[in-house]
């Protein structure tokens, strides 16, 4: 499956990802340093102390010197230290938060593909029945609802109304136990994150299933007397999957960016939460680090999707 060519391809892509990460972080670095104002300026810090702090972060040097040392740090995997919490290195924070964001994104992706395909197949098999109309309408509704709206209603229903209804026996506890979420904490955010995309997958699956089940080989399979479930799953669905696979790339990007909002709503300690916090705190070093983390996450996720193509479709070779 993974030939030598594939390994070379992976190596090339990793180099490209590194370049993209450097590009994004440089853009944000230079952009931020052009902004008016000063991250450290406040009424608590003035005179000598202010100068010393500037010096500590190297902010008193010319911009190009700062940029060169920033790039040098990046190449060593060092993103500098937090401007708000002095002495706290950023790289471990960003790496940890990347893994948390990846966790929730992965669960959401599984949900998206699973539910989306299931609904799409059911709608296609029951074409032009009320099941089909219901699912098709639900999918338009689904992708018209921003994920924060879905999240809000889920919190209302599972976090508050269910809590009131059952006197607090069953309800959804918003929050994150420990470093990574367990299944009890993750299912609701993953649902909110994946639902709009599940609608898109359902629409696509339905359309391509409808096309495939009219093909001759499906009729042949029926003529052979195969069971309907075998025809649908082994013959129709496998081929209906191909258009769905092609949107996997945009889907993954959508889920990663959608996570910015969902993490903030559910208090998940991932990159998205850090992003909002660091902007509010004007901790510009962390802002740069978060964008760098996102660039890396998106690059790696895209690489993963492209490698998945090789696994699913044997015609694709790199």
């Amino acid at each position: 499956m993974f030939t030598r060519g594939t390994l070379i391809y992976i190596a090339q892509r990793l180099v490209l990802i590194l370049l993209a990460v450097l590009g994004v972080s440089s853009l944000v670095f230079l952009g931020i340093h052009r902004l008016p104002g000063d991250a450290l300026f406040s009424e608590h810090l003035h005179g000598d102390q202010y100068q010393q702090t500037l010096h500590h972060y190297g902010l008193d040097r010319p911009l190009w010197v700062q940029y060169v040392s920033f790039l040098a740090g990046m190449l060593h995997g060092d993103l500098g230290e937090s401007l708000v919490n002095r002495g706290v290195p950023i790289t471990p924070i960003v790496v940890r938060e990347m893994s948390v964001s990846a966790e929730i994104g992965f669960v959401a992706l599984l949900f998206t593909i699973g539910v989306g395909m299931l609904f799409g197949v059911v709608a296609a098999i029951r074409q032009n029945t009320w099941t089909d109309y219901l699912l098709s309408t639900a999918s338009v509704v689904g992708y018209s609802m921003p994920n924060f709206v879905i999240a809000t209603f889920l919190i209302l229903v599972f976090g508050i109304w269910l809590d009131n209804l059952t006197q607090g026996t069953f309800y959804f506890q918003i929050g994150w136990p420990g470093r990574y979420g367990n299944i009890g904490a993750i299912w609701l955010p993953a649902f909110a994150l994946g639902f709009p995309y599940a609608s898109i997958v359902a629409r696509l699956t339905r359309a391509s299933m409808l096309e495939v089940i009219r093909q001759d080989y499906v009729r042949t399979a029926r003529a052979k007397g195969l069971r309907e479930s075998v025809i649908m799953i082994r013959h129709a669905l496998r081929n209906a999957l191909i258009p769905v696979i092609t949107i996997l790339g945009p889907l993954v990007i959508g889920i990663i960016t959608g996570g910015v909002v969902i993490e903030n709503i559910f208090g998940i300690p991932g990159l998205g939460k850090e992003f909002a916090n660091s902007i509010l705190n004007r901790d510009y070093n962390i802002v740069i680090g978060v964008f760098t983390g996102y660039a890396a996450l998106v690059g790696l996720a895209n690489l993963g999707v492209d490698l998945l193509y090789v696994v699913i479709d044997p015609r694709i070779r790199y």
């Binding site: 952009g31 921003p146 924060f148 209603f153 910015v260 709503i265 909002a276 964008f291």
Partner: protein, 296 residues
């Protein structure tokens, strides 16, 4: 010679074209979901226009009601944390959403259509550069680019429209390029070229009108995408800065106090979702009506 050739060509085509549009309109009217979308959007537009001159309470005035109080006969959708009337702010928020949605699409059309036409018609190096740029922009996450841009330019209505257009122009450019690529090989374009028409005349007079259907559909789907985008930005605190009311910003304010005052977050959420849904239904209807291949 050229004039007579053009006259001979246009005469039989003209009624055919007229029937395409009237046909499309007839089919659109029969699509009940699309029609409901049109009616709802007209309603939102009227609300937004009315909000320019009149809202039940001032949009910015604090303390017109008890903070966090729910719906009542004086305040239909409740009062927010500063004691501002939610209904009034919803009405004003409709303006922001419509301006962002339509403004972005105007900008996207202005960037995407000429680039797509030129790339598809002239091919060559320009096309390669454009195609590379389109693929590049598809590869990077739009929300992050928009966030960087808004973060660097500073949040304001204009900057948000620019940021969204920068991340979405390639949808239109790719569509127009593809349409142009196939239309430029058609006989009527060849005939126009043989009659001595200049490229600009061919592009504007022959190719663009024939690509108009897909462009309209794309723009219709682009508007809710832009509105959604603005809501995201506002939700993250990088949207149109307060005190200007936006649906996304109102939802973000409300979600913090969802236990005390669910109306604060439910009202803008529903307004936003219904508007997006209406545009999507309208887009679906337009696609069924204008796309000849989808004719049932």
């Amino acid at each position: 010679m050229a004039a007579t050739a053009a006259a001979v060509i246009t005469r039989p085509i003209a009624p055919e074209q007229a029937s395409l549009w009237s046909d499309a309109w007839r089919r659109l009217r029969r699509n009940r979901l699309a029609l409901a979308g049109v009616i709802y959007l007209t309603f939102v537009l009227i609300i937004a226009l009315v909000a320019i001159v009149w809202t039940p309470y001032s949009t910015f005035r604090v303390g017109v009601g008890i903070p966090y109080s729910g719906p009542s006969s004086q305040h239909w959708f409740g009062v927010d944390g500063l004691g501002r009337d939610t209904l009034s702010r919803l009405m004003a928020g409709a303006q922001v959403s419509l301006i962002v949605g339509v403004g972005t699409q105007v900008l996207v059309l202005a960037i995407g259509v000429p680039i797509g036409l030129a790339a598809g018609y002239f091919r060559g190096l320009f096309d390669q550069v454009v195609s590379f740029l389109i693929n590049l922009f598809y590869g990077i996450p739009d929300l992050l680019v928009a966030l960087i841009l808004v973060f660097l330019l500073g949040p304001s209505l204009t900057n948000i429209i620019i940021a969204i257009a920068v991340t979405r122009w390639m949808d239109m450019a790719r569509l127009v390029r593809g349409q142009t690529l196939s239309l430029r090989e058609r006989e009527f374009v060849e005939a126009a070229r043989a009659a001595g028409a200049k490229p600009a005349k061919i592009l504007v007079g022959h190719i663009l009108p024939n690509a108009l259907g897909p462009i309209i559909i794309q723009a219709t789907f682009g508007i809710p995408a832009a509105i959604l985008f603005e809501a995201f930005l506002s939700f993250l605190g990088l949207g149109v800065p307060p005190p200007t009311p936006t649906w996304g910003g109102m939802a973000a304010e409300g979600i913090v106090t969802i236990r005390i005052s669910p109306a604060m977050v439910i009202a803008p959420s529903i307004a936003l979702s219904l508007t997006l849904m209406a545009f999507n239904f309208l887009g679906d209807g337009l696609r069924d009506a204008l796309d000849p291949r989808g004719r049932r």
